[in-house]
């Protein structure tokens, strides 16, 4: 397609692209440096000294562990719900044309297209109107609502590439609908679902805006961090937690990338 495979980028373009990438990454790298600083009271740069003691201090903090556990539980359940609902939506939208199809895809995107604060307050006022007390499940409900779209997007893209003739062939060979789903459709969409699930987990694990409205007294890890940001109490512990959060979200993203990267080579995709 392109005739210019070998031509070189102009120098100013190269420099500004590289500067842009550096702008995106240097701040995150700085977090890694600050996790080791000996300074307790301020954000002084350069750090007066380096130490590993804050890792031990953080390890022994029950509130950090409680927040982390809650976050993992919420993200797991929200991801599970989003996987089911998102796949159902994607299957319906991609397999058939029906009245209101556009509306369904808009409805799925809406919770993430509207600012989080709107989703959060709307859910909060609905909970208080229905006299539902804030609990673990109200947090999950909020998270699942906006996680559906991530699963949906991944699944829809894969369904679109999944050739209809594969399904027809399976039917011709005598398989019923459930067997076709189990042996033909599911293996083909599995990696897309896994990738969508990982992104949904990362999204939920990191969510703070909706959570501030749907959580009662409990704090997830982002809520814990937000409190530390507004009223810093123990900065070194926050530094360590921030670094761990970066590492924890990094892995699912990388995994999701490698899972969907080779999607073009799926059987029947070219038809």
């Amino acid at each position: 397609m392109r005739s210019d495979r070998l031509d070189r980028a102009p120098l100013p373009l190269k420099i500004s692209a590289c500067l842009g990438l550096l702008f995106l990454h240097l701040p995150i790298l700085l977090i890694f440096l600050y996790a080791f600083t000996t300074e307790e009271k301020s954000y002084r740069f350069p750090p007066p000294g380096l130490t590993l003691q804050w890792f031990a201090v953080t390890w022994n903090r029950p509130d950090v562990w409680a927040a982390l556990t809650l976050s993992v539980k919420v993200a797991s359940l929200a991801t599970a719900i989003a996987l089911v609902l998102g796949t159902l939506c994607a299957a319906a939208v991609s397999r058939s044309a029906f009245f209101g199809r556009e509306a369904v895809s808009l409805l799925v995107i809406l919770p993430i297209a509207l600012p989080g604060i709107i989703t959060g307050i709307a859910l909060r006022s609905a909970f208080s109107m229905a006299d539902i007390p804030f609990s673990f499940f109200t947090i999950v409900l909020g998270h699942a609502t906006f996680c559906i779209v991530v699963v949906y997007n991944n699944a829809v893209a894969r369904f679109r590439r999944l050739s209809g003739s594969l399904v027809e062939a399976s039917m011709d060979l005598g398989a019923d609908g459930f067997q076709t789903f189990r042996y033909v459709i599911l293996p083909n969409i599995a990696t897309a679902l896994l990738a969508g699930g990982m992104l949904a987990f990362a999204l939920s694990f990191d969510e703070v805006i909706v959570t501030t409205f749907t959580a009662g007294q409990q704090s997830t890890l982002p809520i814990w961090m937000l409190e530390e940001l507004i009223r810093p109490r123990q900065r070194p512990v926050t530094n360590v937690v921030a670094m761990v959060v970066v590492l924890v979200t990094l892995l699912p993203i990388l995994a999701a990338y490698f899972l969907t990267r080779d999607g073009d080579h799926i059987a029947g995709a070219g038809k």
């Binding site: 210019d4 190269k14 692209a17 702008f23 954000y43 740069f45 604060i117 709107i118 006022s125 042996y183």
Partner: protein, 320 residues
Amino acid sequence: MAAVAQAHPGNATISPAGTGSARLSDVFWRNPKLFLALLLCLPLLWLGVVYLGSLAVFLAQSLFAIDDFSGLVTYEPTLATYRQLFSDANFDIILRTVLMATSVTLASIVIAFPIAYYAARYAQGVWKAVFYLGVMLPLWSSYLVKIYAWKLILAKEGILTWLFTQLHLLWLLDAWLAIPVIGGNSLSVSYTGTFLVFVYVWLPFMILPIQAALERVSGSLVEASADLGAHPRQTFRHVLLPLALPGIVAGSIFTFSLTLGDYIIPQIIGSSRLFIGQAVYAQQGTAGNLPLAAAFTLVPIVIMGVYLWAARRMGAFDAL
């Protein structure tokens, strides 16, 4: 066919017609509408009823007003809350937020374009992956951690001040902070700081759609323009920019909408003057004025509605 063969163990049995599951799948096959309804009922119950329902109930609150004496909401339809929304103080908040969203969007376009263009046209092999992950990782890494990183950077004793001191340019930073509106005591309590963090946090949302639009521009168009004697600047202005415009518009939908609704960034890094998100938060929380909060919420929705309508007319959605 490899995937099917792997997934289908050699001896998978085919159930004879007449078993329960086969009969059920026949029913679905004959009634595609029933099957569709079954597929959609759960997601629609969740999103259509729970989510849209609470959204509608909340927004409808803006039609009521709060009683000034009792502090309770009077449930009679009135436009008083909207009058309150357009009072001077509240209108300032709206104007400030829209100005911030506009400047953040413009700055994001300028920074994003070279990255997107390089990634779309020149990056190959390993570099393609580096650029892709180089945008995806910051996009997906924790929102709060990114804000926290900027708190470290912008703090008075932080790395920026140190950097300016090392370069003997501290006077420049001080001069910048002395500028009335955008300055302040330190970068972390100024609009400049808020602006920088907004640009940083939303930048990947601008890069990806522009890159998607530029991927579709054939290199031969650029060459043809050069062959016909256009200066690179003219090529950019008359060939690249118009072709990238749908991507730019798509990206600006994200940066604009996200800035309009955010309340955490200006709360942590910025001056004490409010943005729309913070006003909504304050009204529903401490002030207890749910109708005004709902009215404030409508502002970004209306602005984005108009923006989306205009963007659709420019064909921006093909690049999403």
